[in-house]
Symmetry: C2
Subunit: 209 residues, 2 copies
């Protein structure tokens, strides 16, 4: 367990917490059918039983809302994955397993995945803190799968690259430019970096043997 996002700037009252939850639920619901464009702010507000202005007070833009939705979903996934940790022998395999499992979970709700991922990559600087939170949770998931207590800087770099690949591969799949098989290959390929960056890995780069 690493980062779990609890800024809690002004502590919300119970009713407010409930409103927030209704909004996120409506967002996920609408995203579930229809994807990104089906999440229309007016509809979210109505579905959540909240005025449009209130929706905007809670989430200052559609992107903020969807990124928050992603945080929420990722958190679920993180705890779910915790219950059944990957079984693989070596770290690379476990990470690949975990990511493919997450991937299959997203596959079950492709529209929702579409909305969340599109929002995530479209987010501009004003959403950086929230996007960063998502990134931290993702990192935590990967590190959990690796099962290492003290990853080296090199390994952290590998994790970063894995995250990059994960996001980008997800996008190419969502936009229909890559098959699931292709995604698996990409994930497996990038996970090799985990082996390569093992502290005790025999150096394989003679450059001039």
């Amino acid at each position: 367990m690493t980062a779990e996002a609890k800024p809690a700037s002004p502590p919300l009252t119970e009713r407010q917490e409930a409103r927030r939850r209704r909004i996120l639920h409506a967002s996920a619901q609408l995203a579930g059918r229809g994807g990104f464009e089906a999440v229309q702010m007016r509809e979210v507000a109505e579905e959540a039983g909240v005025a449009l202005g209130t929706l905007y007070r809670y989430f200052p833009s559609k992107i903020h809302l969807l990124v928050a939705t992603m945080q929420d979903q990722l958190q679920h996934m993180h705890t779910t994955l915790h219950k059944r940790p990957p079984a693989g022998q070596d770290p690379a395999q476990r990470v690949a397993d975990t990511l493919m499992r997450a991937f299959r979970a997203l596959q079950r709700e492709p529209h929702l995945a579409d909305a969340m991922v599109r929002a995530l990559t479209f987010a501009d600087r004003s959403v950086s803190p929230e996007v960063d939170t998502v990134s931290r949770i993702t990192t935590a998931i990967i590190l959990d799968a690796m099962g290492l207590e003290h990853p080296t800087p090199e390994q952290l770099s590998a994790v970063r690259v894995i995250e990059h690949t994960w996001h980008s591969a997800l996008i190419t799949w969502l936009s229909g430019r890559a098959s699931i098989a292709q995604v698996k290959i990409d994930i497996d390929t990038v996970c090799r970096l985990i082996d390569v960056t093992r502290p005790d890995a025999a150096k394989t780069d003679p450059t001039k043997p």
Copy 2:
């Protein structure tokens, strides 16, 4: 030289070609200051001396327009890179060099880069063919840098992962969540895959030695 996008469905007249060019120029111009949101369809149309409806006939959406703009710019970059090929010893180094050079080129016009990359990753299925063209050009650039005649399937996978990393790292930089130094590290890290997937690479994955 690999893929250069010449569908030329209906061959355009000279005036039409000129219009198309004016539109792309206006798009790049406006993107250059202001980024994604500064590219407003009405303004592009006016700047290009074309009616709004015409703009939409040439590019059916803002995303299409910006992705086409990216194609255009990438093509430039590809030919530019061709003139001064990277000097590094081994393929991994040459690829990393090339990508960082491209990266520095984008740094000179961060707003333009922002507009193009945001459009690229936000594109939905209706833009797949155009996005695919961008991807092919990128692949061509990387393969050129590797300088291999017949890359193995493994190496092609590595190239795919490098592309993923490139795009995603670009996004994190553009949204201010990563420094240039961080991007360089990520690029260097992922380029290791080129060595790992060398046909003659000594296997480094004993899993259980």
